[in-house]
């Protein structure tokens, strides 16, 4: 699987953390996460955010909710200009602040990932795969060409498998 960060599709990680990915894609992504620390870290952070959101439960609406609501609105209309001005800056109860903070964090992270233009992974999948046996054959050819470089007075240091190539050293 190609790294979602590398192909600039971090939404796949977000969907995985949200549990929205289909089982096959989730299985492939999990296999990728095992080898990609950058993606693993993002998926872990996302999962933490979702866990915090999942853990929040809205309190049940009380039977006299409407009455109290309209009472508060009426009270608000009677506030002084100074109270109206400072009201948004008053401390918020924790049970209200937590889900809002988590949601803001989630949106911030999604925004950063979607805007990120450079790969976070240490090395990128190239898209082109060279087989190991092809590499080995090329190394053999390079060693041959290196040994007979036509300019060295003595044989250069071999990078071939056979240490006996160091025949002049």
């Amino acid at each position: 699987m190609i790294c979602p960060i590398q192909i600039r599709k971090p939404e796949m990680l977000l969907a995985y953390a949200a549990g929205d990915l289909d089982p096959e894609s989730a299985r492939l992504l999990e296999a990728h996460l095992a080898g990609c620390s950058a993606c693993r870290e993002i998926a872990k952070d996302q999962a933490t955010v979702w866990k915090a959101l999942d853990g929040w439960e809205a309190p049940p609406v009380s039977p006299d909710f409407n009455r109290r609501l309209y009472g508060r609105i009426d009270q608000g209309l009677q506030l002084s200009w100074w109270e109206r001005l400072t009201r948004p800056f008053r401390p918020m109860p924790l049970r209200q602040a937590l889900p809002l903070t988590a949601t803001a964090g989630l949106l911030l992270m999604a925004g950063l990932l979607l805007q990120h233009t450079r790969p976070l992974a240490p090395a990128a999948p190239s898209g082109e795969i060279v087989r190991a046996d092809q590499v080995e054959r090329t190394l053999d050819d390079l060693d041959l060409l290196h040994q007979f470089n036509g300019t060295a007075a003595t044989a250069p240091r071999s990078f071939g498998p056979d240490r006996s190539c160091f025949w002049y050293s």
């Binding site: 046996d133 590499v135 007979f148």
Partner: protein, 151 residues
């Protein structure tokens, strides 16, 4: 995960693009991600995979200019007809089977012959001295390697 030689060969930055030799499979290998490289190496026996890692590391540690020259020679070599490439590889295998003193003698002869102009080279290869100093397989080795190997 075992470490793989990841150092990338330095390019000769001041060389015009037209003179840059084409990338060889090792250069393309170096561009693969560590996961991709390990996945490919995992298909081989561990000892062989380890040997390839070491050989790539030695290639990547070459001096950039030396590496660039080798890249150029590889490009020339890979443009030879496939049969000639096979002949050179076969002679190389035979060469490596020689005893160290014979390798020295054969290699010196190849180096000397490759520096000669065409006519002198042919004269040398037909000379009595050449025939007396080298066995028939060695003569064939010298002929083929001095003719087909890129300069």
């Amino acid at each position: 995960m075992a470490a793989v030689a990841t150092a990338r060969p330095q390019q000769a930055q001041d060389r015009p693009a037209a003179q840059q030799p084409a990338e060889n499979p090792i250069d393309r290998w170096n561009r693969m991600s560590p996961e991709e490289r390990e996945r490919e190496l995992a298909k081989l026996p561990p000892a062989r995979a380890k040997e390839i890692r070491q050989r790539i590391r030695r290639y990547n540690q070459m001096h950039p200019e030396e590496q660039q020259a080798l890249r150029q020679r590889y490009q020339t070599f890979s443009q030879l007809p496939a049969e000639q490439q096979q002949i050179v590889r076969q002679r190389w295998r035979e060469f490596r089977q020689l005893s160290p003193p014979r390798r020295i003698a054969v290699r010196r002869e190849i180096d000397q012959i490759r520096r000669l102009p065409g006519a002198e080279r042919q004269a040398r290869l037909n000379s009595e001295e050449f025939r007396s100093r080298f066995s028939a397989p060695e003569q064939q080795m010298i002929r083929d390697l001095s003719i087909y190997l890129p300069k």
